[in-house]
């Protein structure tokens, strides 16, 4: 029985890969656990409108068990995801992991982790792709193809020096007042910022569309509900891509299947994928001609390692795990304190800051989010006053509050690796080991000092003691375990087309093949690269 092309995972990479084949009239089978997103409630209402219009807004915002209340002393990294995003991070019993120096997040949802992304879509440039077996030109048409499919809004502005301008870049969204103020401040201080601090500011490139699209997605209606899940589809998430796949002829969706491993014939050619019901039960064999792993770097690594272990009796360690280090730096734009603020605005970041490095690889990327709609209690409790006074200060300062999410590049290093270790009676466990690069602390400190000076030039101050270095793993931009290489068919690598050097009919369509991770969100490049791989089929 012929299996055709089988894709594992419905995240950003998987759906773009599938859409590319489907657009060419080629059939695709997609295997997925596929936790389902709840239907958005009242897409006509703004966030504040939900507080007025829902029967029980407390349950919607805080969860039926109040699980979204952030109490003082919470030791876990705070992501701020609302209860209706629980489906994105709901695990399955087969996923077992032990991590050292790394806080991994994995998704088994329809659409994967990017169901919770903030839409930042930044192409890599030639300097950032120096370790790749090809340059920007090879990806450019695929950036354009993805932009056409999902809609990328932005502007050709000062940030174009760091990120190429691709085809199908559409007009940017309406700026909120605080972001508009910062951009005006930048224009006034451009000379010193560009010269002395080597910093450039511009509009974020976002997978959010301003205008209605022919495919039925609506232009942004500024409901202030991005974090709670855009109810109009203006912010593209892979779930929308999966829905589009399901309307196409030749697409077969196999949900509720956890991909355990693949099996091979005597020539080590993959014959089928073994999938299990997520809650346990009899395994199923899915016939395969060409297998495409797009489950995300860590889940794809687990499938690869488990398959090799079953074949050879032992499995290797995959080296070179990468992720972007992120630092969250809150700021107060003092000229705006005391002003009223408008909740009916785009909630996520609308501005970005580019900090030039000594080499293109040292570029530092800042996402500037001004505070509009948000739950207040996680912020208010951090003001060092009694809660009533803190609330008064927060209300007065709301219009002036913002946050820069500072992103740093990562490199492949041998000590940062993923392997399988004996787990409990039910199976093996993924072991993740990560240690930061030597000198990272100084590098982060220097960038933070620079960012403070940049914000001061824009009219902002950074409250002391509130800058937060997130643990590795928190940015969820994992990559690098089976890298693309142009230098021969070494084991545990892939070729420039992301075809495995270990199994001739295995392709790796997610971040697992990236040889370097620049400071930018990699999701747009994941999608462009998956499109490029599929175009070669």
């Amino acid at each position: 029985m012929s299996g055709g092309t089988v894709v594992v995972g419905s995240g950003a990479s998987g759906v773009q890969f599938a859409l590319t084949l489907l657009e060419r009239g080629l059939p695709v089978t997609l295997v997925d656990v596929g936790h389902v997103r709840p239907e958005p409630v009242r897409p006509d209402l703004s966030l504040t409108g939900l507080k007025e219009g829902l029967d029980d807004p407390v349950s919607y915002f805080l969860g039926s068990g109040y699980e979204a209340v952030l109490f003082p002393g919470n030791a876990d990294e705070y992501y701020g995801f609302p209860p209706n995003k629980d489906y994105v991070f709901r695990s399955v019993p087969q996923h077992r992991v032990r991590a050292s120096g790394f806080a991994p997040l994995v998704s088994f949802a329809q659409g994967g982790l990017a169901e919770a992304w903030t839409g930042g879509s930044y192409p890599f440039n030639d300097g950032e792709m120096a370790d790749w077996p090809f340059g920007y030109d090879a990806l450019a048409p695929h950036y354009g193809a993805v932009a056409r499919r999902i809609g990328i809004s932005g502007e050709t502005d000062d940030l174009a020096r760091f990120m190429p301008v691709h085809a199908h870049l559409s007009a940017p969204l309406r700026l909120d007042d605080h972001s508009a103020f910062l951009l005006q401040s930048y224009e006034r201080a451009r000379g010193s910022l560009n010269g002395r601090l080597r910093a450039w500011m511009g509009r974020s490139r976002l997978a959010t569309v301003r205008d209605d699209r022919p495919d039925g997605r609506r232009g942004c209606t500024y409901l202030g509900r991005c974090l709670w899940g855009c109810p109009t589809g203006s912010l593209w998430t892979p779930g929308l891509g999966l829905s589009e796949c399901r309307t196409r002829q030749g697409f077969t969706y196999l949900p509720a299947r956890f991909a355990s491993h693949f099996a091979v014939d005597s020539r080590r050619r993959i014959t089928h994928l073994v999938a299990e019901p997520p809650g346990g039960g009899a395994a199923e064999e899915v016939p395969v001609d060409r297998l495409v792993l797009a489950a995300g770097t860590l889940p794809s690594a687990r499938i690869f390692l488990e398959s090799v272990r079953r074949l050879d009796g032992k499995s290797p360690a995959l080296a070179g795990l990468m992720d972007n280090r992120q630092i969250l730096m809150p700021f107060v734009t003092t000229p705006l304190v005391g002003r009223a603020w408008n909740p009916d605005t785009y909630q996520y970041h609308q501005l970005a800051l580019g900090l030039e490095g000594d080499t293109p690889r040292d570029y530092v990327h800042g996402l500037v989010t001004t505070l509009k709609t948000a739950l207040a209690h996680p912020i208010v409790q951090n003001v060092p006053l009694d809660l009533r006074s803190a609330l008064g200060v927060f209300k007065g300062a709301h219009a002036a509050l913002g946050l820069v999410n500072i992103n740093f590049h990562d490199t492949r290093r041998d000590g940062n690796r993923v392997s399988l270790e004996p787990g409990d009676a039910d199976g093996r466990r993924l072991l993740i080991e990560y240690a930061p690069e030597t000198g990272e602390k100084e590098r982060l400190g220097a960038a933070c000092d620079r960012m403070r000076r940049i914000l001061r030039a824009l009219g902002g101050i950074v409250p002391p003691g509130m800058t937060h270095v997130r643990p590795m793993g928190a940015s969820v931009h994992y990559a690098g375990l089976l890298p693309m290489t142009a230098s021969g068919a070494a084991p545990l690598t892939s070729d420039a087309g992301c075809r495995s050097h270990d199994f001739e009919n295995l392709w790796l369509a997610d971040g697992i093949t990236f040889p370097f991770v620049p400071a930018k969100n990699l999701t747009f490049t994941l999608m462009a690269n998956a499109t490029r791989i599929a175009a070669g089929f």
């Binding site: 002393g73 003092t334 005391g338 809660l387 008064g392 209300k395």
Partner: protein
């Protein structure tokens, strides 16, 4: 250590009066009690924790004193957890969200003056509150003040 529904209801009233200057709607009070019943708030970690909650139940002014002490002495303690829960409920409820998350226009000078006064008031309350907690600690063996905290 048992917190009855009626105790939690009156506690909710006192803390709400302190935070936003008015009592809670019935539905919010019910959420407050339910969150406690589900164990979301946790228990007192020590004597200071218990005394602060006991003091805060005394009304809006006492809650202000207790909270000011808690910021310094028990920032992650039971009283702060109860207050943060209440704040989360207030900002998510139909009747009260505006009390938490809307602001009138004011000038920068007004804002900074108001914030400075808030800081001074907080410091004064923390000192007075510490004295009140100390007095409670001395009296508690005689008055059994902590029995239900």
């Amino acid at each position: 250590m048992r917190e009855t529904r009626s105790l939690l209801a009156s506690e909710c009233d006192a803390l709400c009066e302190y935070l936003v200057g008015c009592g809670p709607p019935a539905a919010l009070r019910e959420h407050y009690i339910r969150a406690h019943e589900l164990g979301r708030v946790g228990a007192a970690a020590g004597r200071i924790d218990r005394l602060l909650v006991t003091l805060a139940r005394g009304g809006s002014g006492a809650a202000a004193l207790a909270d000011s002490v808690a910021v310094v002495a028990a920032r992650r303690g039971l009283l702060r957890r109860k207050l943060v829960l209440l704040l989360a409920l207030l900002e998510s409820s139909r009747e009260t969200w505006r009390l938490v998350d809307t602001a009138d226009d004011e000038s920068q000078i007004q804002f900074f003056a108001r914030s400075a006064l808030a800081g001074l008031g907080f410091a004064a309350r923390a000192v007075c509150g510490a004295a009140a907690v100390a007095a409670l600690a001395l009296l508690s063996p005689y008055l059994a003040l902590e029995r239900e905290a």
